[in-house]
Amino acid sequence: MNVNQQPHMASPYGQPQPGYGGGHVPAGYPAQYAPYNGPGSAHQQGPPQGYSPYASFPSKTVATNLVSDLSSSSPLDLGMRGPPTSGAPPVTPAQNYSQFGQGDTQNGPPPMGAPPQRPSVSQPYTPGAVNLSGPQPPYNQQFGALPNSMQQMTNQMASMQVGSTAPSPAGPGYAPPSVSHSPVSAAYTHSAPPTFPPTSAAPTHPPPTEGVAQPPPQSYYGAPHSAQQSFPNAAPAYSAAGPTHPQAPPPVSQQSFPQAPPVSQPPFSTGPPPGPIPGPRTHSYGGPPPGAQASFQRPPLPASHPAAFPGGPTSHPAAFPGGPTSHPSAFPGGPPPTSAPSQMPGVIPPQPPVSQPTSYHSGPPPTAAGFTPQGGPPQRPPLSGMQAPPHMTSQGPPMVQANHVPPSQPGMPPVPPNASMSGPPPQPGLQAYPPQQNGAFGQVRGPQPGYAGPYAGQQNYGAPSAAPAPAPSAPKRLDPDSIPGPQASDIPPVQKTRHRIDPDAIPSPIQVIEDDKANKGSEPFTTGVRGQAPPLVTTNFQVKDQGNSSPRYIRCTAYNVPCNSDMAKQSQVPLAAVIKPLATLPPDETPPYLVDHGESGPIRCNRCKAYMCPYMQFIEGGRRFQCGFCSCVTEVPPHYFQHLDHTGKRVDCYERPELSMGSYEFLATVDYCKNNKFPQPPAFIFLIDVSYNAVKSGMVGMVCQELKTLLDYLPRENPDMESNIRVGFVTYNKVLHFYNVKASLAQPQMMVVSDVADMFVPLLDGFLVNVQESRVVIESLLDQIPEMFADTRETDTVFGPVIQAGLEALKAADCAGKLFIFHSSLPIAEAPGKLKNREDKKLVGTDKEKSLFQPQVGFYNTLAKECVAQGCCVDLFLFPNQYVDVATLGVVPTSTGGSIYKYTYFQAPTDQERFLNDLRRDVQKQMGFDAVMRVRTSTGIRATDFFGSFYMSNTTDVELAGLDCDKTVTVEFRHDDKLSEETGALMQCAVLYTSCSGQRRLLIHNMAVNCCSQLADLYRNCETDTIINFFAKYAYRSLLSSPTKNVRDSLVNQCAQILACYRKHCASPSSAGQLILPECMKLLPVYLNCMLKSDVLQPGADVSLDDRAYLRQLISTMDVAESHVFFYPRLLPLQKLDVESTTLPVAVRDSEERLSRGGVYLLENGMNLFLWVGANAQQELLQNIFGMPSFNHIDPSMTSLPALDNPFSKRLREIIETIRTQRSRYMKLMVVKQEDKLELIFKHFLVEDKSNNGGASYVDFLCHMHKEIRQLLS
């Protein structure tokens, strides 16, 4: 939840700085620090400049903010900036990486931070290095040594990671964690010992992050409890949140708990989820299950801590500062030792290496460590323990150390060892504190359990921490501090010193995802309880419809809606629902029942016309019902009358889906049909570009060949029946060719319409035919089309008339339908809708940029309107070799509920599979035609805005010419009155559509959410993924009207307001410098950053306008699962793939630091699929995957993996298949070799890193965010 204690900054920093300055400088950092310090004071000012790179951040202000943040955390900044600001960092990292990778490689690499830092740091630090010299040498040595072991380690690591990952997933299982830990620890011991342990551990295990995250949660949870305390410690350590948390947490946590308690799980879900691991940990801490709750309760506190975690990063900076400051203060006590150690040149030096790494990883941990130090010796122990566990496995070590340290103070000693021998030390430490270390590691995951027991003391600590409430702030700071401390000292060697924030210490999406899986994936989600947030989209779960719609249909941004608009405005949390009306359900869930209310049609409220649903209250013995939406009382028609039982429910309640289910369908009567007559079955029309480019790319032949078989799989309602859908064919270049494929013809007839200025359909009979009846003619046609145009030289194409043609054909046939347009080039032929090439990159970044997203001509808008009126949905498959103006061509598809598929530089051999799979899916998918969607809500709120692929002719009816199972409509709600907590907020989404068999139906989805009068409730029960989905759609639409920069700024601003509001109204009081994030939203910054970095909002030089327009339009119909993975790609490590298991390996965070040179990773974002092969990947692995003996033999141009007969290959291909089936579009596999040219593309998807085109790294952005928030608060 919260945490980043930047608050420290100011004062703390000031102090810290001095302290640091003093300390560091003396240490030898002086030089560097000095400047920084300077910045520290002057930082704010200076930084901006320095940050220029940050300019990447949208606005200068941001930059400044960042700066300020940094500055605030001057110390941190120092560290932080060093890397970021210096700009060098990015570069350096790379260098580092390379170096690193080579050097220590995997383990090392994992640490990422370490390597990168090194270089940069090393240089700058060198001086410091001097101080660190001690450490450095060790590193070197270690590394040197490590390499050997490292390589092995890598392997081991891999296994380790796997293990660790496994654990994490197992997270839930407490045992696993421990186990994992053990491995981890082992890993650490090995590799870690080197120095990597921390880093590597952190990265690989990232668990660190998780750990971090966990810690928070734990801390939250733990805070309450002893365990919590321990957490608190951790937490405190993290964000010093400890303190704040303790205070705030209680309330919050309590609140949350209160609720949570009732539903123990829920709380977990909320709390735990954040840090899946935390959960575990907490559990472990709290004491497994039972304790868990207790722990949970504590967690709440931790929860706040969690935030702390997130803050972690920021906090780091802050922490640093805080560390310095608060720590200083704290340190003074004893903590200093730990943190100080790290920080302290003298002391630190030794620790630094070790502790730093740890601290880094556990960024938070470090904080924790810091806390421990700060927390004051007393707290420390617990904290340390807590921290360690919570924070990072990696931290574990450090933490442990810290913890240990504190306890015995030996912290110092241990640290030193670590520091001295980053590797060894850890080990030693670990060894020394086997339990602890293990715990530490384990803490991260497994440790908990172990710790739980062992750490009774921790609890104590926790208690202390709790007690220290006041200290919290310090702890928070500590977190940062701790991080800084350790990092600075430890990892600082290279990385951490600079980044004061440990990437592992900030909220980890992976951790959150894994926690949620662990907590919610196991049992069915029942929808009966109002206001219950569903599991995350990344979690596999089963849904039981008990009165509300499945989250597969509707997901809300908040499940606790503010009672009034003031609250809503205050919080700035968007109230929106992401509705996917025709979502495909897994086979084990029942599709909506079909209800027939007879000739009179569905029963509806007299006033608001809401359809019969579970929210209707039957009164007067069942003779009337009161509408849940508008409270109007309506007579029950005689044929629908039923007696009520003693509870006031209708006796037949459970026999009628419309009274007991959230989703169901009504059979519509003729009153619901156009022109008062039942619709004709819909039609599919295939319009194929046969110009030179299209033919040459192989597209034409491919489409024709594929259609021959595909036509047998047209959607149908009853699988045994033939599809009622009729088909028609058109080809075109600069004229259109219609085909008469009437069954009675001996050969197809082609009708050329050259009069494109005034399109019409040249034939009536025989254009749209039943596939079965006309099969022979159709096949003959599809055989001939490629032949006929094989020698074409016509390069010009038209586009507007093509759509018109389809539209006219549907009009003539008086039916709805869908057009499949296969198009290749910019339509420059003389015709309506003719376009010019307006690609002008010079406009990018200017106020005119928005015009590039707007259609070039108004023609298509008008056309789209006509299409919608007829129920003509348009799907566009683009095969461009150059600019085609997707922004304009896409107008009709996006207004008619259609899709756009784009295959740039299409080459039949390589793109065939992708295209054909997309086509198959697109043709076969279930869909409704000529649909109208209406969202009704309780009095008090109103659907005010809609996002998606549709057209609206008024403000309430969403008109969709076509609606398929992948299309999502996002609806924003606003208050127009007050809501009551009693009744909650209801919404009913009714979709009137024509099914593929021509039946007119009404699909109803009902959703009820709670209302709250406390902001805290709101923040406790919202869903970040959905919010991001909404933001993305909102922002992408804003691009049409505002300069990109403004859009970005307002996004950042709104998020800052959301978080600031939480900080102000919900979080326990704490120093202003602390970053406190709500548990539910702790990933908001990272995801937001991902969105801001997307090609649409921040294009790189190589991103074409078409790509941006394409993505922009694509996002508008994405559901939450798709948008989630789109913005935060899934990165699966394969080197530890368990070929026996059926589950996917636990993902790692999208950062280069997490990639091991010895590993192979799979990355997917719903659009792209990469297989990244590390340069040092083991021969066996390569042999298994590629059948190639060495890295050099791998052909990066392959698009599918060879089918090798070994379990690994099979399993891998299986995974790829699975992933592909999860997405609505087929992803072409790209093999990326490390250090290959293509890697640049791949790196673009490592969204936590700084991007080439100026996108901020996660850490940097968090800092920025924090600064924004602080500004708002002040």
Partner: protein, 766 residues
């Protein structure tokens, strides 16, 4: 010396010429006083089995403004190898190839019997004939089927190398591509949008730039034989086209109740014209339109698609109530002119019970020499046989059609050409022999006749130049040369040259001679053509009045009478039939629109202005034969008195062939006497007119409507409307007698007409 009758006959046989006067008055004033202008009917391609074409090119006068062709009237100096042009008196040297000529070795064109001669020009590659079918698909199933069969049949009649194309239309227009395998391709146009020729050619991919291969099949250049995908040699696409026609469907667009099908004839024609224009300009081609109803949409629409709005009638037209008339007419005229410029003929085959808009479309055929055929249904022998006859062949196996003809008229300087009336358009060639006065299509000495048949006959009107005080010297001869260049159906370019000469006569001193040189048949037709030509633009009554006045003046000029004594009125033999022709002309459907639809009027007029003299006369005054036991078949008066119970009448009005059984005969026939052996003679009697009718049918184009009726039959109206109503309900004296059948009409009878004529002719006040 032969009689004028023989002279006339001879000239007609040799030159295809009938002149109104065979002696020409020597001054303009005198010519004017003759009432009937100096004029002639010329049948350029009159079949002359005895005239073998010569295989060389004509020798032309070297004077640029003359260019007359060497002819028998020229003076030749065989020694000097020089000839003098008889039109401009230019002396020309013979070309080198004539080096061997001498008195005894004369080229054909110098021999008197070759006053008409045909040259074959060997220039340029032969261009195949082109037939572009434009087929209406808004037909009843039966009709369409019959039409399809006819069309398929016609393919076998076409010359194998002829290019053929197919355009079908209904609501839309489809231009079929004929050379594709495996798939039937067509270009489709909507019927409501007017397109410029350029657009059409662009859309059909006929533009040069587009030839690079719109369909992937590179187009050959236009002048190549495979130039156009839409027009292919019959021999190549015979099968394809037969299949294509076989699969032709009725226009699939639903026709709501109370509506006419939407028929885009206007656009279809414009596309056809545009297509040929773009591909084969100045090449012989026929656009053959087959339509089963009026154009109902787009430019050229004749009537809306609402059935409740009837197609314009004469009444509507006179009341200026025909909304689309002017616009449509203008549209088709523009089309016709375009087609004519490119030498393409347009035929219209309109088969429907109701009108089909011939009135508006007539100019298409009229200006380009195309055929117009009007029938009730494509599923009738009238259409089928007529259509078959289009592809009839002559004695030498050549098609009876020619294309892209131009007729040039050259006159000696005493004459000027005032105009022509016939299926032609002016080429606007000004020359020294062009008169300022226009009669018919004037202002030019050249006309284009895009499509000709051997029967195509033009009326040419001349003007005598010399003023009264400077008359043409006696003894001279005026000469006229007709030069017709055309594309023969065997794709040869040919030139037929006819040179005629007539003596000049002083009207005052030689009026008797002039009178006796009067060709009353030709004059009747020539005057009728003028009348019809006027009727196209003037009100019917005005034309009648004009005709009447001309007749009266003629009678005054040549009649012998005492002033104010009608009974004394006499006309010489050479004029005796003329008033009767005029009487029947006045009653003819060419001038009377009563009881005829505008389409019918147009149809009749169309044929009237293009048929030769004999046919034209039949049209003016139908022929009536009587069959009886009392003797061989005999022509009888076209008079109600000829309608007797024991007679069988055969009337040929050109457009109809009516066999009328008298009351008694009809009863006998009904009783079945002809089946009884003893009454073999009766059977023969019944058969006789049928045989004669068959003979007429064999040669007649278009096929006349064949009516077999009897006394009291409803179809007897065809007969009753034609005969002179000498007995009507008004002159009851003959009522019930055997002398004939009364006609229920208020029309005046010939007797009354003549009485009035005499009265007016002799009246001093007239």
């Amino acid at each position: 010396m032969a009689t004028y009758q023989e002279f006339i006959q001879q000239n007609e046989d040799r030159d295809g010429i009938r002149c109104s006067w065979n002696l020409w008055p020597s001054s303009r004033l005198e010519a004017t006083r003759l009432v009937v202008p100096v004029s002639c009917l010329y049948t350029p391609l009159k079949e002359r089995p005895d005239l073998p074409p010569v295989q060389y090119e004509p020798v032309l006068c070297s004077r640029a403004s003359c260019k007359a062709v060497l002819n028998p009237l020229c003076q030749v100096d065989f020694r000097a190898k020089i000839w003098a042009c008889n039109f401009c008196f230019q002396r020309n040297a013979f070309p080198p190839s004539y080096a061997g000529i001498s008195d005894v070795n004369q080229p054909a064109e110098l021999m008197p019997q070759f006053s008409t001669i045909e040259y074959i020009v060997q220039r340029g590659p032969p261009t195949p004939l082109i037939f572009l079918y434009v087929v209406d698909t808004c037909l009843e199933e039966e009709d369409l089927q019959a039409l399809k069969e006819s069309l398929q049949m016609s393919l076998s009649l076409l010359p194998p190398n002829a290019l053929v194309g197919l355009i079908t239309f209904g609501r839309m227009i489809q231009v079929h591509e004929l050379s594709c395998e495996g798939i039937a391709k067509s270009y489709v146009f909507r019927g409501t949008k007017e397109l410029t020729p350029k657009q059409i050619q662009e859309m059909l991919g006929l533009m040069k730039p587009a030839t690079s291969g719109q369909q992937g099949k590179p187009l050959a250049p236009h002048d190549d034989s495979a130039s156009c995908r839409f027009l292919q040699p019959v021999e190549k696409v015979d099968m394809n086209l037969t299949d294509l026609l076989g699969e032709l469907q009725r226009d699939p667009w639903p026709v709501p109740q109370g509506k006419r099908p939407l028929r885009s004839t206007g656009i279809a024609l414009s596309i056809a014209v545009g297509l040929l224009e773009g591909t084969f300009p100045n090449t012989g081609a026929r656009i053959m339109l087959f339509t089963g109803g009026p154009p109902t949409q787009g430019p050229g629409m004749v009537v809306g698609d609402e059935l409740k709005t009837p197609i314009r009638s004469w009444h509507d037209i006179q009341k200026d109530n025909a909304r689309h008339l002017k616009k449509a007419t203008k549209y088709y005229e523009a089309l016709a002119n375009r087609a004519a410029v490119n030498g393409h003929g347009v035929d219209i085959y309109a088969c429907a019970l109701d009108q089909t808009g011939l009135l508006e479309m007539k100019c298409l055929a009229n200006l380009t020499g195309g055929h117009v055929v009007m029938g009730d249904s494509f599923n009738t022998s009238l259409f089928k046989q007529t259509f078959q006859r289009v592809f009839g062949k002559d004695y030498s196996g050549e098609f009876r059609m020619a294309f892209g003809g131009t007729l040039e008229v050259k006159t000696t300087r005493e004459l000027k050409v005032a105009g022509a009336i016939g299926p032609c358009v002016s080429l606007n060639t000004k020359g020294p022999c062009v008169s300022d006065n226009e009669m018919g299509v004037g202002g030019t000495c050249q006309w284009k006749i895009c499509s000709l048949t051997p029967a195509t006959t033009l009326a040419l009107y001349f003007e005598v130049v010399n003023q009264h005080n400077a008359p043409v010297p006696q003894g001279g001869r005026g000469a006229v040369q007709f030069v017709t260049q055309y594309q023969h159906s065997n794709t040869q370019r040919r030139i037929r040259v006819t040179t005629i000469a007539r003596n000049w006569a002083d009207a005052q001193s030689q009026i008797q001679h002039i009178e006796s040189s009067f060709d009353q048949e030709a004059s009747a037709v020539l005057m009728a053509r003028l009348g019809v030509f006027r009727a196209e633009s003037d009100e019917g009554p005005d034309v009648l009045r004009w005709l009447d006045r001309q007749l009266i003046r003629l009678c005054q000029k040549f009649g012998q009478f005492n002033k104010d004594d009608p009974n004394s009125f006499r006309l010489s033999e050479s004029l005796s039939l003329y008033p009767q022709f005029m009487f029947h002309l006045r009653r003819s459907p060419f001038l009377q629109v009563f009881n005829n639809s505008p389409d019918e009027s147009s149809y009749y007029r169309h044929h009237f202005v293009r048929q030769d003299l004999t046919q034209s006369l039949i049209m003016i005054q139908p022929i009536l034969y009587s069959y009886s036991f009392y003797g061989p078949p005999e022509p009888v008066l076209l008079d109600s008195s000829s309608i007797l119970p024991d007679r069988i009448l055969l009337m040929d009005t050109f457009f109809q062939l009516v066999i009328f059984h008298g009351e008694t005969i009809a009863q006998w026939r009904k009783a079945g006497y002809q089946e009884i052996p003893e009454y073999e003679n009766f059977k023969q009697l019944l058969q006789a007119p049928l045989d004669d009718a068959e003979e007429i049918l064999q040669t007649r184009f278009p096929m006349p409507r064949y009516v077999d009726t009897e006394h009291g039959g409803s179809q007897a109206r065809f007969l009753l409307s034609k005969v002179n109503p000498s007995q009507t309900h008004n002159n009851l004296y003959a009522w019930g007698q055997e002398s004939g059948a009364p006609i229920l009409t208020d029309d005046v009878s010939l007797q009354v007409f003549m009485d009035h004529l005499k009265k007016l002719a002799v009246s001093s006040s007239a």
